[in-house]
Subunit: 203 residues, 2 copies
């Protein structure tokens, strides 16, 4: 088995889907969490100046979604054919689009501009997107795609603490299918074991 070293800030956020998939696959990995003060020194050593970065046998790879897709193929979390993989990719990118819009609000440093982003996000975008995601899980037998566990479910559940941290409420609370999916994924023995042993962080 290749050696894996995952480098990121000391949080869940974008690294957590990778940690979930590696844990689900029963893969040992070095969980390298650096101090935020060291970031300016680390940044230029990273392939695109960003983290998370997964070193696979010493080769540094960035982009969490690309990494998840690669790992998912090896651990039985990909689709059964090109069409299912397309559906999984769409679900994952829809989830990340939502994450990115929540992030555009959360990380906006100009107070007035931030305030202007709040209502469109909280009143329109978020309810619309959550309704669509919930409906998709309902239609697909409790999972995002194909009535079975795929890496799209891992990405969604692993990102939840980060999303909830940014929105300041539990985004699954009014969406029973998303909530049930979360509980189901967190009850998987290997995910449960990971969640119990991981460092406790807010997001």
């Amino acid at each position: 088995m290749p050696s894996y070293k995952l480098t990121y800030f000391p949080v869940k956020a974008l690294a957590e889907p990778i940690r979930f998939i590696l844990s689900y696959g029963g893969v040992e990995f070095e969980d390298d969490r650096f101090d935020r003060n060291d970031w300016p020194k680390i940044k230029p050593t990273m392939p695109f100046g960003q983290v998370p970065v997964l070193e696979i046998d010493g080769k540094k790879v960035n982009q969490s979604t690309a990494i998840c897709r690669y790992l998912a193929k090896q651990h039985g979390l990909a689709g059964k054919d090109d069409w299912e993989n397309l559906e999984i990719d769409v679900a994952v990118d829809n989830i990340h689009d939502l994450r990115s819009k929540i992030g555009a609000y959360h990380y906006e440093s100009h107070p007035e501009a931030k305030e202007a982003k709040r209502e469109p996000l909280m009143k329109e975008l978020l309810p619309f997107a959550l309704d669509r995601l919930d409906e998709q899980v309902k239609k697909n037998g409790g999972y995002f795609v194909g009535g079975k566990l795929t890496w799209a479910d891992m990405v969604f559940v692993a990102l939840l603490d980060y999303l909830n941290f940014m929105t300041k409420f539990d985004i699954t609370e009014k969406h029973e299918n998303l909530k049930a999916l979360k509980e189901k994924v967190l009850a998987l023995p290997k995910i449960k074991a990971w969640v119990e042993k991981r460092p406790q962080t807010e997001c």
Copy 2:
């Protein structure tokens, strides 16, 4: 061959990589460009309230990158193995990360917040990212991955007019490897034919 209908605003932007790959594959498609005034009416009929959407035999699929990956597999633009596909996915997401940061500046509606985003983008982020992308193309024999044409090259070149529209300058002008890649892709006979026949739009 399946039937394809591509629905988008009357611009290149996020739909153009799909149009490039379909054109490269010699695939006929309906290029449905709607009037911006009709968007509020169209939006709720789209799977995630977003476009571009490609209808494949009547099935509506959103998320341009997922669509490109799916089409690339069918038209010889994917990698030769999982590792090459990982490298392609990373390149594509790096390109879209850059696009998204340029967009965060371009679409910011609060004038002061927009001004605050300008310098970090123009002086740091953009030069850093373009240097890394240019270096990658140089190292890989004139393409993003594996010394041969893949859908990562298609995505980059197809997005250029949109990126340049938002930055207000030609982002390849000081990066000779990116510039050479652009010229090479635009010289492919099927891409050349598409570019000649497509509607002329600014972005």
